[in-house]
């Protein structure tokens, strides 16, 4: 069964149209300590359960999305454009 992701721009699409770009972490401040940058670049939680990831809709609108999903049950809780989140925090 195909996993279906509802892109906010394109509608419901199969997972084959997307490429998963890893955990949605917030980028540290440029002057943050080396430990913070090391954690941001290399360290991942890899949880079993609910997880927020960047998904790139490569086969569609080519936008970066943040997919909030459960990697055990495959439930998708929300899909939002990453730019929308970024603009909120600006």
């Amino acid at each position: 069964m195909a996993s279906l992701i509802t892109c906010p721009h394109c509608g419901t699409r199969p997972k084959e149209e997307f490429s998963i770009r890893g955990t949605a972490l917030s980028r540290p401040h440029p002057t943050a300590s080396e430990e913070d940058w090391h954690a941001y670049v290399y360290l991942r939680e890899n949880p079993k359960g609910r997880y927020q990831e960047y998904w790139h809709h490569a086969g569609g609108c080519r936008r970066f999305l943040i997919v909030d999903r459960d990697n055990v049950t495959h439930d998708v809780f929300s899909v939002v454009d990453a730019a929308a989140i970024g603009r909120l925090s600006e």
Partner: protein, 183 residues
């Protein structure tokens, strides 16, 4: 030494020797469409879309938020470029030689496309004039519904051969034919 350059379509070899008579399910390869990619600058999305929608003789295809393809089969790329001129708050690029326009129509068109794309193309879900980017035969393409049972597929030029062969393969059980069309 003078050199005469002829326009040669990328699907020329694929279509050589194909049947001349079109069946009800038919794939037309448009020989020289004008295709422009338009990107709206941030904050200008609505005004650019309004300008593009009111452009005569050109059809607008949705790609992404603030990104469209402008397609014209009536006039050449140079004519469309003059017509568009400078759009305030947008950047455009001529993609006419970089994209291939395929027009597929017929009573079984949805059954054929169901094997190519993973998007609901039911008449109620995908109305006439709708368009979107999607994977078509593993290639990112723009698919638009141009009529009751007619769709237009825009694919990157270098992938056109592969998409064409796969669409023809999927249409074989419905006797899909293919030929060039002028527009």
């Amino acid at each position: 030494m003078s050199l005469t350059l002829y326009h040669r379509h990328v699907l020329e070899d694929y279509l050589a020797g194909s049947e001349a008579k079109a069946n009800p399910n038919h794939l037309a390869v448009i020989r020289r469409p004008a295709i422009f990619s338009v990107l709206a600058h941030r904050g200008h999305e609505a005004s650019v879309k309004e300008t593009l929608t009111s452009t005569d003789g050109a059809l607008l295809r949705d790609c992404a938020p603030g990104e469209w393809l402008l397609v014209s089969t009536a006039s050449g790329a140079a004519v469309v470029e003059n017509l568009l001129g400078e759009i305030a708050g947008a950047s455009l690029a001529d993609q006419s030689d970089g994209r291939v326009l395929l027009r597929i129509c017929g009573p079984n068109v949805r059954k054929i496309l169901a094997k190519c794309v993973a998007v609901d193309l039911h008449p109620d879900a995908f109305s006439i004039g709708s368009s979107a980017n999607m994977l078509c035969c593993h290639v990112t393409a723009n698919l638009a519904r141009s009529g009751a049972d007619a769709f237009e597929i825009i694919v990157p030029r270098s992938f056109a051969g592969s998409v064409f062969e796969e669409v023809m393969e999927m249409g074989r059980e419905f006797a899909l034919t293919a030929a060039f069309a002028e527009g």
